[in-house]
């Protein structure tokens, strides 16, 4: 019998010590309910999180499928960790199962006939039984799902399934990780603990993680580099505050979580204090907003996030906010642990977000007179799309 070779002494480190990076430059025409359209992107993603943000149908999943090798682009090149995985010129396309790229599908795709542990060990077929068990156990512990070891996917909760799917992908030590809306089904505390565990794992592994979402809130919570996709094209790239807070188009603003979007006309410029006054169309409200390059009489759109608005039951005094608008509560809508109050001020409806506690403390109910407080810098200005 041959004595097994002593394993090389290696510290705990990634098998790809030189941090891998993804470079994608592809074109692919893909079908879409509103006629086929072209995915045409070029970007790099370094080790760490990169968020792919865009509405459904913007091409996010197709992009991930191309990187994972589940489908081929029409043209271009995909390089991961220095290795060509796809190159149209060389007619090269590495098979999906040889790419060593972790992909957590939106629907998780856990194997229903295997237990959580067997799912996690699935990609470790080449290891010895003992080593496979070890690695599997480590991963189950790291993602805090050891107690689910014997259970089938149908017997565990959504959040736990998400953890099993992540653990299953990570245990194979992929050189890049693709996550397609991995948090969409989770509540907020579950989300952040999962992201924390993922970050912890990636501190040792340093691989690029492409994280797809259509949820603007998630983008801010993650706080990493964002690539904004619209109809198959990259329309912005940078940190969330740069990309998301200064939307150029209303469609993008909608996605970024602007519940209040109004058509407005510029009625006065106050260059000395860096503001201007905008009249909201369809009502009597005038808002003081940041000054932008605009002329009196020009048309704009004003976007305000519902969470940036304050509500008072008595007329506030001594506030720094420039806009204090009297109004009436029309409706209160409960959304999970939050209240959306629809307040009519001078013919314009504002959506204001409050906590349940605030609703009770202020004894808010429809018909009650309130004041909406809008800080100048909570008003975001956008060109009128198509203008």
């Amino acid at each position: 019998m041959k004595a097994p070779l002593a394993p090389p002494v290696a510290p705990k480190m990634s098998p790809h010590p030189i941090s891998s990076e993804i470079e994608v430059r592809i074109r692919k025409r893909f079908p879409h309910p509103e006629g086929s359209f072209l995915l045409n992107v070029h970007f790099r993603a370094l080790a760490g999180f990169t968020i792919l943000f865009g509405a459904s149908g913007a091409g996010k999943t197709t992009l991930l499928d191309c990187i994972a090798g589940l489908t081929d682009p029409d043209d271009g090149r995909i390089v991961v960790g220095g290795e060509d995985l796809y190159d149209a010129e060389k007619k090269l396309s590495v098979a999906a199962w040889k790419r060593n790229i972790g992909y957590v599908h939106q629907e998780l795709a856990l194997f229903p006939h295997l237990t959580a542990e067997e799912n996690v060990e699935y990609g470790l077929r080449k290891l010895s039984d003992a080593e496979r068990k070890n690695r599997g156990r480590e991963m189950l512990d790291a993602f805090r799902i050891a107690h689910l070891r014997e259970r089938r996917p149908a017997q565990i909760s959504g959040g736990e399934r998400q953890r099993v799917a992540l653990a299953r992908a990570l245990v194979t030590e992929p050189r890049a990780l693709l996550l397609d809306e991995p948090l969409s089904a989770l509540d907020r505390p579950t989300k952040s603990s999962l992201v924390d565990d993922l970050r912890k794992w990636n501190q040792n592994h340093r691989v690029p993680i492409l994280f797809v979402t259509h949820n603007g809130e998630e983008v801010f919570a993650l706080g990493d580099e964002v690539i904004m996709l619209e109809a198959g094209k990259i329309v912005a790239q940078g940190l969330p505050h740069d990309v998301m807070r200064a939307p150029r188009l209303e469609t993008v603003a909608n996605l970024a979580g602007f519940e209040n979007i109004f058509d407005a006309t510029v009625v006065a410029l106050h260059e000395a204090r860096g503001t201007m006054t905008c009249h909201l169309r369809g009502g009597t409200v005038e808002l003081e907003t940041p000054l932008v390059r605009a002329e009196i009489g020009s048309m704009l759109q004003v976007g305000i996030q519902a969470g940036d608005l304050l509500l008072a039951t008595e007329e506030p005094h001594g506030l720094s906010a420039r806009n204090i608008l009297p109004g009436t509560i029309r409706r209160l809508i409960q959304r999970d642990v939050m209240i959306a109050a629809i307040v009519e001020c001078g013919g314009t409806d504002f959506e204001v977000h409050l906590t349940l506690a605030a609703r009770d403390a202020l004894q808010l109910k429809p018909g009650k007179a309130v004041w909406v407080v809008v800080k100048t810098h909570s008003c975001h200005l956008m060109e009128v799309s198509g203008a």
């Binding site: 999906a96 199962w97 795709a109 006939h113 990609g123």
Partner: protein, 229 residues
């Protein structure tokens, strides 16, 4: 009841349905995953025995097995006798005769496995063949059992092909259905009735198991929560 014919029939059905699992899985795999544009022709050919008169199928099998065909000559040079009118010949004829009853449930089960599972398996580094063995086959258990049971039951009851290929040699090629025919020929109605009733009950029993399994035990939806594997 003619016990000699009974055991011959059971032996034939068991051998044929077992071989069909081995032969049917690769064919069903190909039918499920091939993107060849003329695939439908192969599918039609596999399904032919469902609609073809058994005498037509039996006739061509007989010709193919005879000493004038290459296959027949090859077998003869190997064993010293032709396949026609032997038990082995009966097995070959029955394999063709029951092929669609195995392949179609197999292919339907393979095709019903969620594609995202196959993609997940690929992204975990498993080749298509490994994925087939570790994901598709286990999740197709109901279809595999159905195909096995249907081809077993179908072979139990075959008549035309047996008569054409095997003739009516007691202990060699006389199956239960041929035996019934014999009994009726000799006006032995009560004995024929006994055997016929037996075949009826057994066939019904096998089909009940198949439908029962598909209904209550082995459907994919129930699969994940069933307490056993």
């Amino acid at each position: 009841m003619n016990w000699e014919a009974f055991w011959l029939t059971v032996r034939l059905a068991a051998i044929v349905s077992t071989l069909l699992v081995a032969i049917g899985i690769p064919i069903a795999y190909w039918i499920t995953y091939s993107r060849w544009r003329w695939k439908f022709l192969v599918e039609a050919a596999v399904a032919l025995p469902i609609v073809l008169p058994p005498t037509v199928l039996g006739f061509y099998v007989l010709v193919a097995l005879g000493s004038r065909s290459p296959l027949g000559r090859w077998w003869e040079s190997l064993t010293g006798h032709t396949l026609a009118f032997t038990f082995e010949g009966l097995v070959v004829g029955s394999l063709l005769y029951s092929l669609p009853f195995a392949v179609q449930p197999f292919a339907a089960a393979f095709g019903a496995v969620d594609r995202t599972l196959l993609q997940a398996s690929a992204s975990l580094g498993q080749s298509p063949l490994q994925t087939f063995r570790r994901i598709v086959l286990p999740l197709s258990k109901a279809g595999l059992i159905t195909g096995f049971a249907l081809s077993f039951a179908h072979t139990l009851g075959e008549f035309g092909v047996v008569l054409m290929v095997g003739g009516n040699i007691p202990g060699v090629t006389r199956t239960l259905s041929i035996d019934i025919y014999d009994q009726v020929e000799t006006a032995n109605y009560s004995s024929a009735n006994q055997t016929a009733l037996f075949l009826l009950v057994v066939s019904f029993f096998i089909l009940s198991i198949v439908f029962g399994l598909n209904r209550y035990g082995l459907t994919r939806r129930n699969w994940a929560v069933s307490p056993w594997r």
